[in-house]
Symmetry: C2
Subunit: 255 residues, 2 copies
């Protein structure tokens, strides 16, 4: 029996029209058959959110040999679930998310819809990787990323990933990029997180804002620091978030 | 100088009117001063989502000695950020979320807005705990949970938690509850995840649905199994999700 070409399921959180997604399709086309299920508009910062209070609708928007593109009214995690349950006739070989317009390193992994796609793929037992560029502009240049993304996805398809582990890949705004570092999630926090935007008679309106403080900046295994130094970063992420080392300490409360 | 009473910041994802939140206020009132910042309506399944595409508005809705209640237009994570940056005059001693109407054990930690509150508290360096009851009805009975919740929050305030670790506490529908087990995140997945809800001329509408399959059910350290056996579960959760043990394997791709 003929071996099927690899099946790549793509999604993102910037929506089906985003440049980053369309560049990603173009980069990965030689690696297999591509099915895209992406939100019909921007869903930035929606993390692993799912749509529970209304139905989700999807629609095929274009199809040519090797690439089918669907959009839906859901969030990034919904896209993965919906594609696997309603559209695909076999399990994808890899789930790929992005290319996000904006940084998802460090603790941003928790807020990221790009990484929502990846975590959902991983929870479904499929090797999964998300790509983000530290430039949120809609016309950001993704050219320096091409060979990196192709090589990483090729490796993921051919070598797989450890069980319950997925990849969070981030790129600096640099040309050329200095190379790749496999990193750990930077420690840090967001400060001064709101900008006031008062409305007549009411000063209780705010925009989420702020800047990220890297509290471990001297550690070059830290993804945020490596990005600052001009490197692409791969941070392996686990979906079993149990703090095993804390179990005994909490158990002692009840003895 | 007089020692201040502990400050407890409360939120949830079922909204400020939910019974679970109001029972939580009642249980925790003896432990300190309570400030609630909760969404103005349901936000189930919104994970660590943040509101980036519109401003957030908040409003004080009631105030009496020891308990101030605010609502806002944001998501659970926004509630924590907004309270800390715009409302509170000191850092809370503990962030408490819930009581959620519905199960947040196992992989549901990734989708849960209840745990979004907790993860945000933990990322801010504050001890944080989320409570959920495996009953999604709006009039669920929370009575058997009272002494457990009081004791757990008292322990968290007095003893603290390890750095970068927070707690995901779930309760079975049982009276009496058999006791507490400190657990690990159950392994499993959701299957048959969509129910069709066709609209005239269009069958591409679906409700997110499905049932959870516990793939490690014989392991009684697994939170879902312990709940099935009638125990309350405490699953310690880490916010550094780096898969440290995978770094070397991924690095080998590039040598």
């Amino acid at each position: 029996m003929e071996k099927k070409r690899p099946l790549l399921l793509l999604s993102n959180d910037d929506g089906v029209m985003a440049k980053g997604l369309n560049v990603l399709i173009d980069i990965l086309r030689p690696l297999g058959d591509i099915v895209v299920m992406a939100p019909d508009g921007g869903r930035s910062g929606c993390a692993c959110g799912v749509t529970v209070s209304q139905p989700i609708h999807y629609q095929l928007i274009s199809e040519e040999p090797g690439v089918a593109i669907y959009k839906c009214t859901g969030m990034p995690v919904d896209c993965v679930k919906l594609a696997m349950h309603a559209v695909l006739d076999r399990t994808p070989d890899v789930v790929v998310s992005g290319i996000n317009h904006g940084d998802n390193s460090s603790i941003n992994v928790h807020y990221s819809g790009t990484m929502g796609v990846v975590i959902e793929g991983c929870l479904s037992g499929i090797p999964a990787v998300g790509f983000s560029l530290c430039d949120h502009h809609h016309d950001a240049s993704f050219e320096p990323l091409r060979s990196y993304i192709f090589d990483i996805v090729k490796n993921v398809i051919e070598k797989g990933l450890p069980a319950e582990v997925c990849l969070n890949v981030n790129f600096p705004v640099a040309d050329p990029i200095k190379g790749i570092k496999v990193c750990q999630q930077a420690k840090g926090y967001w400060n001064q997180e709101f900008d006031p935007c008062p409305r007549k008679f009411d000063d209780k309106y705010f925009w989420l804002a702020g800047s990220f403080i890297n509290t471990d900046a001297s550690n070059d295994k830290n993804d945020r620091t490596a990005l600052d130094n001009g490197y692409a970063t791969i941070t392996p992420v686990k979906v079993d978030v149990t703090a095993y080392e804390a179990i005994e300490q909490i158990e002692a409360w009840f003895i």
